[in-house]
């Protein structure tokens, strides 16, 4: 009987895990309101007086697709677990930032700039022991082309 693999985020600190509704972890500056992803220990607004440290926030799970591409080449080691084809999108969040991430579908018929997408955490690859997780954006509307 095969043992259930342990689910491990590919990188700690990018999204909440374990979680039924995972969210991206960002930061917001209490002085000027500037939002960052990933979270940072300092604000990135050139006009900020940096008098306070940014606070951790959870970013909105829904955004709008700004652009996308389907990657059709495999990557070299140590990143060869990204198996082509896979889809990458840039997603505009209500916080005013655009985040790049994997998309759940490589079917171009299902993708359209301006469509609503929603955050999801899923498996990127697995080895003998662990399943490694990353964040994806999933289309939440039908495309009428």
């Amino acid at each position: 009987m095969s043992k259930e693999k342990r689910k491990v985020p590919i990188v700690d600190g990018l999204f909440t895990w374990p979680s039924d509704e995972p969210r991206l972890i960002g930061s917001r500056c209490p002085v000027c309101g500037s939002v960052q992803f990933p979270k940072s220990n300092v604000c990135n607004n050139p006009d900020c007086d940096h008098s306070k440290e940014p606070e951790q926030i959870l970013l909105s799970p829904e955004g709008t697709l700004y652009s996308y591409t389907i990657h059709r080449y495999d990557l070299r080691p140590p990143f060869d677990y990204h198996k082509a084809p896979y889809a990458i999108g840039a997603v505009e969040l209500p916080e005013g930032i655009i985040v790049v991430g994997r998309l759940t579908t490589t079917d171009e018929e299902k993708l359209k700039i301006g469509m609503k997408v929603r955050l999801k955490v899923g498996e990127l690859y697995s080895d003998g022991e662990n399943a490694y997780l990353t964040y994806f954006f999933e289309p939440v509307e039908e495309v009428r082309k």
Binding site: V11, H71, Y73, F79, I97, I98, V100
Partner: protein, 411 residues
């Protein structure tokens, strides 16, 4: 204020990357002394060597990279040094533009009179990744290749698709335009003895090449190469004694990342929050505007351009940004062939990075070298037919590295 000028320039032929011989330092030294010979100068006449560091990958993470970070010092010792000032700069693909601007600023400030600007690279093959390093938590864990599988062409592809969308056109439209850019660049690569690729492509061939990241096909993305270049820059008074055709440096602007840049930038997870600029590529536009201001000119004064085309979208985008006109005008310019040697605005008559492949830390020197030849009427079969006075070189690199150089005939 002191004026500065290019006295001489020399580059090697660009070749395949990944071969360890001849050594980078040997190549750099031979091209440096060639530039000095052409200027009738000796190393003793050079006040400063300004070199770019290299993007060479290292075989083992425990090796120190100090040798690659000190090309200026090593070159000075190798060609003979009288204690010349040695400066090493790094700015991804824009490195040599930043080195060049540094030399220009040092001359204009009166600190030095003559500088040797050099760059050499043997760039890694394939997609670029940041090196994982156990010594830096950021590199060990956080970078987007690891998490998202994103590569440089992915960003370019997303920009290209977005441009088509914003113009209300199907993505096939920009795909075909990028293929045409490749074709035109290849026509000039074929006429350039320094270019690595001399084949003239057709639009069909480009569109038949494998898709890397839609809409970018393989032949729309530059290969990586090996190459070296050297340029001698001096204050105008001295330059006029050394050559009867000094090429004045009318402007040399260095650009950096803008926190409110709205287009996702290589190689970041996200744009910055708060107060986004309205137009994408404000970073690109900003460095050019600074150069125009320094030179006291406008876009209409530009006779010829060499723009950094790591992929064919960048040629299109640089024209958009440099001209500051409706993007439709750029499309028309390219479709009518007006960027050819006999056109209204010749672009990349060197053949561009499309024909050279990219020797990352040296690419802007290749472009400045071409403008130097074009303005002096020494570009042979590639020579622009219109009367040339002012040329613009734009360089672009990851993390928001930019350079914009304006050169002008000074005779």
């Amino acid at each position: 204020m002191t004026e500065s000028a290019i006295v001489s320039a020399a580059i090697t032929e660009w070749t395949a990357s990944g071969e360890p011989t001849p050594s980078l330092m040997d190549r750099l030294a031979s091209v440096a002394v060639e530039a000095l010979r052409r200027a009738k100068l000796r190393p003793r006449d050079v006040d400063a060597v300004i070199a770019t560091t290299t993007a060479l990958p290292f075989d083992n993470p425990s090796f120190i990279t100090i040798s690659a970070q000190h090309f200026a010092h090593r070159l000075a010792s190798k060609i003979g040094s009288h204690g010349m000032k040695c400066i090493n700069v790094c700015g991804a693909c824009a490195s040599t533009a930043i080195a060049f601007a540094t030399a220009d600023a040092m001359i204009k400030s009166g600190y030095i009179k003559t500088a040797l600007v050099v760059g050499a690279d043997n760039s890694p093959r394939g997609f670029y990744y940041q090196a994982p390093s156990v010594l830096d938590a950021d590199l060990a864990t956080g970078y987007p290749h690891k998490v998202v599988g994103i590569t440089n062409p992915s960003y370019w592809a997303m920009w290209a698709r977005r441009r088509a969308y914003e113009m209300g056109k199907p993505v096939e439209d920009i795909k075909e335009l990028m293929a045409l850019v490749k074709v035109i660049h290849s026509e000039y690569g074929a006429r350039n003895p320094y270019a690595r690729y001399r084949k003239v492509f057709t639009v069909e061939e480009v569109l038949k090449s494998p898709v890397v990241c839609d809409p970018l096909h393989l032949y729309m993305i530059s290969a990586t190469s090996s190459g070296a270049g050297a340029i001698v820059v001096a204050d105008m008074e001295r330059a006029k004694k050394l050559t009867d055709k000094p090429v004045k440096i009318a402007a040399s602007a260095i650009g950096g990342p803008l926190s409110n840049e709205p287009a996702p930038r290589l190689v970041h997870f996200a744009t910055a929050g708060g107060g986004r600029a309205v137009r994408p590529f404000t970073e690109w536009r900003r460095v050019i505007e600074e150069a125009y201001k320094q030179a006291g000119i406008t876009a209409e004064d530009i006779d010829i351009m060499e723009v950094h085309d790591t992929n064919c979208f960048n040629t299109i985008n640089w024209i958009d940004q440099a001209m500051g006109w409706e993007r439709e005008e750029t499309d028309k310019l390219i479709r009518k062939g007006e960027i050819r040697h006999n056109g209204r605005l010749p672009v990349n008559l060197s053949g561009g990075t499309a024909s050279f492949g990219e020797a990352v830390q040296c690419q802007a020197l290749m472009m400045i070298h071409e403008l130097f030849l074009q303005l002096r009427g020494e570009a042979g079969e590639r020579q622009a037919t219109k009367k040339l006075r002012v040329g613009l070189c734009t360089a672009y690199g990851a993390y928001g590295s930019y350079g914009a150089i304006i050169v002008e005939k000074a005779w």
